[in-house]
């Protein structure tokens, strides 16, 4: 970054020239617009179909309204990312991720490929369609709060402008940018860091799956997705450890008859049927 003495901003014209001279710079974490200009193009994807490309900094967040049939790939660049995710029906956002239904209806607490991410309205918001991270994910511990981060990392840094921002603080901002408020932040899920449960109910942190692994979500409805990239709340390390999160998304097709997840279980089958029924009624 240039020092303050490198800017000439004593007049409006000079300030305008100075501002415009900043264009074209790059940062380690930034969106790539248009998405096809990503410096990290997925080798298996036609760049022309990309709709979202971004690197999210540790302790930062992103969000997007996505079309039904969008495939989103999250990549844990260093093995230290933790993508906390919330999903909403973009058109009727009071329909949103319901973590309890997501695990109970699937009879499975641990998330991996094939798991439908359910709303509380009996439909699928998105499906986990690929998981290179071997289930290093979590549907039990949610994200961090200011109170938790203050207790763990010391007071004062848990707000978005601090050095140890909490997932909830970042979700609050991401939600606000879609007209959603603090009441609209239900329990979230996280990718790339997880826990396992012992017989006595105690949880143990698994950590990540190593650098370079990806997980993919397929939007089954038009969705708003909120993503906070912050340490997992069960991460026992006393330091705020988090790595960059890469996001790419492209146009694909929603789950349909013949796809393996369409009738992977009786419960998932009826969830996809309900989703298709909703889409048909909407005339989409």
């Amino acid at each position: 970054m240039p020092g303050v003495d490198e800017h000439e901003t004593d007049t409006v014209r000079a300030a305008r020239a100075d501002a415009r001279a900043q264009a074209g710079r790059t940062a380690r974490a930034m969106p790539y617009v248009p998405a096809s200009s990503t410096p990290f193009p997925p080798p298996d994807v036609d760049p022309a179909t990309l709709t979202w490309a971004e690197t999210v900094a540790p302790g930062n967040y992103t969000h997007k309204a996505l079309a039904r049939g969008t495939r989103v790939r999250f990549t844990d660049v260093t093995g230290e990312a933790c993508a906390h995710v919330l999903l909403y029906n973009a058109d009727q956002p009071w329909e949103r991720l319901n973590v309890a239904d997501t695990v109970k209806i699937s009879w499975q607490a641990y998330l991996t490929a094939g798991h439908p991410l359910l709303s509380g309205d009996g439909r699928v918001l998105a499906t986990i369609v690929s998981d290179e991270a071997g289930g290093h994910h979590d549907a039990l511990c949610g994200t961090s709060t200011t109170a938790a981060n203050d207790a763990k990392y010391g007071h004062g840094g848990s707000a978005p402008h601090g050095g140890t921002p909490s997932g909830r603080a970042l979700f609050t901002l991401a939600a606000a940018k879609h007209g959603l408020g603090p009441r609209d932040l239900p329990p979230s899920i996280s990718f790339f860091q997880g826990v396992r449960v012992a017989d006595d109910g105690s949880t143990s942190f698994t950590g990540g799956a190593g650098p370079g692994t990806s997980v993919e979500l397929l939007a089954e409805l038009p969705v708003v997705i909120l993503v906070a990239n912050v340490p997992h709340p069960a991460d026992p390390r006393p330091e705020y450890v988090c790595g960059p999160l890469r996001v790419h998304a492209w146009r694909d097709a929603p789950t349909a008859p013949g796809d393996p997840q369409w009738d992977s279980t009786p419960e998932a089958h009826r969830a996809y049927l309900n989703t298709a029924d909703y889409v048909t009624a909407r005339g989409w």
Partner: protein, 231 residues
Amino acid sequence: MTGILDPASYAEGTVLDLAGPLSGGEVTVDEVIPPRAPWSAVVPAGHVLTLVDVGGNQSGDCLLYNARDTAERYSVPDTIAWSGNVYVRTGTVLRSNLGRPLATVTANEIDRQDTIGGACGKESNTLRYGHHTLSEHGCRENFLAEAARYGMGARDIVSNLNWFMNVPIEADGTLGIVDGISGPGKRVAFRAEMDVLVLVSNCPQMNNPCNDFNPTPLRVIVTAGPPDGPR
């Protein structure tokens, strides 16, 4: 149908045990929640709510809110992350979405209480059991109806507690609602750490064992807590 406290109103062999409060102090609330019905009250800070499983293995779905600002509400993941355990037992602090204590479990007469199984509902029943169950009443409907009395709606209904429900998680992550480990007159009690709005749905589910396929009443008793402390 005879009275809700008449065993003849329920499946053959039903035993009803109203028990009593698990905490001392003046009784400020003492009500029976009929089968399938919602219930709510504000419990002041320091007061203790005892829930009695009158007929045994009757799930009491429960949500808590900061009574002064209901945007702060019970959070399953914060409760689990802070306690390091997915089951709720004596001593478990029931945390809000801000990580703050809403209530503390002060007594519990079964091995463990559930907070990962969520609430049943009409739409989710269609996934779990088939579309023929859509007409059946659910806890989500009870929560929505009761929350509406306080100006709250769908976005205020989040993942909940299930008193007296049994949800084991196996080593590979398989989980589900199985036969209960409670019985007639078994109780749980929690002390409000702030003024809390408590919503309870006496679960109407008839398609799994969370109510022993025999919905029965719950008794809710609120006591002012000390001077004589827990009983």
